[in-house]
């Protein structure tokens, strides 16, 4: 079954690209071709333009050609500086996302648009942060918790609160390395400072700072984003959905939600369910409103509401190419500005909503959080009214979609694990069953597969090939972001997919009643993975770096991915990159990232562009860690 089971995930795409040519629409492939051969200096990270003496470019080969920039910065310094700035940008993106969510909790009220949906989670966080909960209104507590979170971005003293969630051994590693982040924005600013001309001139120091900044993302921004989204919108529980462009419906108003912040997408979900909106859709001749998600905002709404997944990063243009999308509503991050021109070829309205991400040529309808529902309805109305303009002769929806089970938050995973707890031996509500199967060897390890799509790699191919190989070798896979959506489209998020797993993993899937690949959410939800790894390490009384676990970004592309990979390493988890980062111009930086960093954090980077070879390396490294641990 395996090949047929998997291969449909890409079908239909070629037809859409042919349609693009016919319709005179430009896609990323046209633009990639127009770029011709990429610049070798940028590709290797040895091009610097941080001051007006430059731009400088130095030779990536030691001892040959220009060895230093005008200021004297070597290839090592330039590469490390560029890398550090990528980490800072990625951290900034996740953190600004989180900041908005914390603000939303701060404005939440009993009769407002934003409410507290998961009181239990709020109360446990209040307790964790020492907020008095006795005889207080839940909203009063929420506002105080939100304020503490908001202070995490710029507090003048101390270090981040969530760091204390890590195993004690890990906290000690951070303490010894002096990379405990202080305040989120501060770490980002410090990197921008230190990478200014004439500041830090030492590669190792820049990597060191990058680690501290990235931790402000994983254990700061992203974790706040996830925790607060759960509190406001509910902690995900397992539910069924469908994925791929086939979820678009010819007979309905198709609205695509693309971007990242659930504060917008949640309201759009509610607005589209509103009877007034439903009525309006009927009036324009549609059978209803069909909401479909894309990228991380798609992950957020599918995790919490089972909203169908139209596709991942790579498919944002393809969705418009179907000619069946009335509106693509976006907020921030990973949105091609090209969508403005592309949607002009069709009736599709490209609607930007955030002042943080305006795009020339788009229809900008600003989303106001203090008036969220009304705001959302205005946007939905714009989409519905556009149904009339659809040109049926231009519509082609590929008939491809797969079933998927999503919604595996840490809480949901633990609840599934309770199914196999023998109540005469162990208490419920712990990660012990997971720790047990790893220790016994029934599962060889656990791997998080995350990241983007990248035209340097065949679309979704690396994601799927690596997942298939790992599950066949009894390694459980958890996934987020566009990797998760690739898995959904390939059918790997079904319980039936355990047929592709090795006997150990298949047995675990059967007993626990889960798919072999677990969708844990959006990119900020990688913090969920940090949490569960940390809980297993704590249960076994060891550090994250001792566990047979790994992180993989097979098709990464964004600076967020760089920040993520760096905090995963800093958290003691080996990270495998399927796309070579722009660091190869410096032997020193490559040596730090793929070798020396292991002595600091207990984990390191592996760079391997061949997915099969990458999977083999992961399996090898997992066995190495098991052996060291004696399990």
């Amino acid at each position: 079954m395996s090949d047929q089971f998997i291969s449909i995930y890409q079908s239909g795409e070629e037809q859409l690209l042919e349609k693009a040519v016919k319709d005179g629409a430009e896609t990323m492939w046209d633009r990639k071709a127009a770029q011709k051969t990429p610049c070798g200096f940028g590709e290797k990270g040895v091009c610097c333009r941080i001051c007006a003496m430059g731009p400088c470019r130095v030779s990536p080969v030691a001892g040959k050609g220009a060895q230093k920039g005008i200021c004297g910065a070597t290839a090592d310094v330039i590469v490390a500086r560029n890398y550090a700035r990528m980490v800072a940008a990625g951290t900034a993106a996740h953190s600004d996302h989180a900041r908005d969510i914390a603000h939303i909790l701060h404005m939440a009220s009993r009769d407002g648009n934003y409410k507290v949906r998961d009181e239990k989670k709020l109360m446990s966080l209040a307790k964790e942060w020492g907020v008095n909960t006795e005889n207080r209104d839940i909203y009063e507590i929420a506002h105080e918790v939100a304020e503490i979170a908001l202070n995490e971005f710029g507090k003048p003293f101390g270090t981040l609160k969530f760091l204390e969630r890590a195993p004690e051994l890990r906290q000690k590693v951070w303490e010894d390395l002096q990379i405990k982040p202080r305040a989120i924005d501060r770490e980002i600013a410090t990197i921008l400072h230190s990478t200014h001309v004439g500041c830090t001139g030492d590669a190792e120091s820049l990597v060191h700072m990058s680690m501290r900044t990235s931790l402000a993302d994983g254990w700061g921004g992203s974790m706040i984003g996830t925790e607060f989204s759960d509190i406001i919108f509910g902690t995900p529980v397992p539910r069924e959905t469908e994925a791929n462009l086939g979820v678009l419906d010819e007979k309905q108003v198709n609205i695509i939600l693309h971007g990242h912040e659930p504060s917008l997408s949640e309201m759009i979900v509610m607005a589209s369910l509103d009877p007034e909106m439903q009525k309006l859709a009927k009036e324009v001749g549609a059978e209803g409103i069909n909401l479909a998600g894309m990228c991380c905002t798609g992950n957020e709404v599918t995790m919490r509401h089972g909203v169908k997944i139209a596709g991942n990063f790579y498919q944002q243009e393809m969705a418009i190419l179907t000619g069946a999308v009335e509106a693509i509503i976006v907020d921030v991050q990973c949105i091609f500005p090209a969508l403005a021109k592309l949607s002009d070829c069709y009736h599709t309205k490209f609607i930007t909503t955030s002042p943080k991400a305006k795009i020339t040529g788009a229809t900008h309808i600003e989303f106001h959080e203090d008036n969220a529902m009304e705001s959302a309805k205005n946007i939905v109305k714009e989409a519905i009214e556009n149904f009339k303009n659809r040109k049926n002769e231009k519509v082609f929806i590929p008939e491809i979609k797969s079933n998927a089970v999503v919604g595996y938050s840490v809480e949901a995973v633990i609840k599934q694990l309770d199914k196999v707890v023998n109540p005469h031996i162990d208490p419920m509500g712990t990660v012990k069953p997971l720790a047990d199967v790893i220790k016994a060897g029934v599962l060889r390890g656990a791997v998080g597969i995350v990241g983007c799509n990248n035209p340097k790699s065949k679309h979704d191919y690396s994601h799927i090939e690596i997942m298939k190989k790992l599950i066949a070798n009894d390694v459980i896979v958890v996934t987020t972001g566009c990797a998760a959506q690739a898995a959904a489209k390939a059918g790997l998020l079904t319980k039936d997919a355990r047929k592709l797993a090795g006997q150990g993993l298949a047995t675990v899937c059967e007993l626990v009643d889960i798919p072999p690949v677990l969708h844990m959410g959006s990119c900020v939800d990688i913090s969920r993975i940090l949490t569960i790894v940390g809980e297993v390490a704590k249960h076994l009384g060891i550090d994250n770096s001792d566990l047979p676990v790994a992180g993989i970004a097979p098709e990464w592309m964004s600076e967020k991915a760089v920040a993520i990979a760096t905090y995963v390493i800093s958290s003691g988890i080996d990270t495998f990159l399927g796309i070579t980062p722009p660091v190869t111009g410096s032997d020193e930086v490559v040596d730090i990232l793929t070798n020396r960093v292991e002595n600091m954090t207990g984990a390191k980077f592996f760079i391997e562009e061949d997915p099969h070879a990458l999977a083999d390396k992961v399996l090898g490294r997992i066995e190495e860690k098991r052996q060291k641990l004696g399990i």
Binding site: N422, H424, K439, A440, G504
Partner: protein, 314 residues
């Protein structure tokens, strides 16, 4: 040592023991000497179910050793670990078969050794109707005979069929457990390998009641997992051999509950140090639900006591 490595070690021990015994037996009796268990139409039932081959002579057993060896592939994954467990089971059957080939009555009271086909057929109906809600295999040695008796009597009072292997047999006798087929407590033998006689019961249930074709090992394992509600209690220190035999039980779908510290596998391999909870833990692990109407009477009351004979002295 990691769990899978322990299993492989035990399996290798089992196979070399079998190989050594077989060599000796052939030297003494020759290749053509007859091999059979009494009163069964299924030759050596485990080997027959797994391969479809009926072994009748010592010479043919040499081929069976090859099967055992082929099952031991020392790769650290569950499939290989369970196969190694099955290898131990087959090796145990070879060893037990040699006992019967070398000696007309290798087992004497209280031990039963091989269980005959007629007995299995007689157990079929109560197993199907749920009158026998489960099969407990109690193996090894309890800290004392009172504990052993308590656990066994508890199974007995719940109507389970209990097989005993090892020193626990003596402990049961000392603890005044009444035994016999009618009383649903059957001591098998003192050697670990005698546990194969209960595996043989499960496998023949699959052949007889499940009508599963011989040679289709996967189907037999599916049948035993779904239809034979057995589990194992392994008490006392666990040798590598016992652990690898345990893997064989798990391969057949039978959870193992032990009082020793082992790398636990949820629902399949569990540590329960509290002897008062062993029975409840085991029933839960095997998903055995017992409908009980407890009668407030001063003696144990269960179907297991139906065939009890009251002797003059009692």
């Amino acid at each position: 040592m990691n769990l899978f490595q322990t299993i492989f070690t035990g399996s290798n021990q089992a196979v070399s023991a079998a190989e050594g015994l077989l060599k000796q037996a052939i030297e003494q009796k020759g290749r053509d000497h007859k091999v059979a268990f009494p009163d069964t139409a299924y030759a050596l039932p485990v080997i027959y179910a797994a391969t479809g081959i009926k072994i009748t002579t010592l010479g043919e057993l040499e081929g069976a050793i090859g099967i055992v060896k082929s099952l031991i592939v020392e790769e650290l994954q569950l499939t290989q670990a369970l196969n190694a467990g099955l290898a131990t089971a087959v090796a145990a059957e070879i060893i037990e078969a040699i006992k019967y080939a070398m000696n007309e009555t290798p087992y004497e009271a209280p031990c039963a050794g091989h269980i005959t086909d007629p007995i299995i057929r007689s157990l079929g109906v109560p197993l199907v109707t749920g009158d026998i809600p489960g099969v407990a295999v109690v193996l090894g040695e309890c800290p004392d005979s009172a504990t052993a008796a308590k656990v066994i009597k508890d199974y007995q009072s719940k109507g389970l069929l209990t097989f005993l292997v090892g020193k626990v047999i003596d402990q049961a006798i000392e603890g005044n457990v009444k035994m016999g087929l009618e009383l649903r407590v059957i001591p098998l033998g003192y050697d670990v390998t005698s546990v194969i006689h209960v595996v043989s019961v499960a496998i023949r249930a699959s052949l007889i009641f499940g009508a599963v074709e011989p040679g289709k090992l996967d189907k037999h394992m599916e049948y035993t997992k779904n239809r034979v509600p057995a589990f194992v209690n392994a008490f006392g220190p666990l040798s590598e051999l016992v652990v690898s035999a345990g893997a064989g039980a798990i391969a057949l779908g039978f959870p193992v509950i032990t009082d020793q510290v082992v790398p636990e596998v949820p629902t399949l391999l569990l540590t329960q140090k509290d002897y008062d909870k062993v029975v409840a833990t085991s029933l839960e692990a095997r998903g055995i639900k017992i409908k009980i109407t407890e009668l407030p009477i001063p003696v144990a009351f269960a179907a297991a006591f139906e065939g009890e004979r009251i002797r003059k002295d009692d």
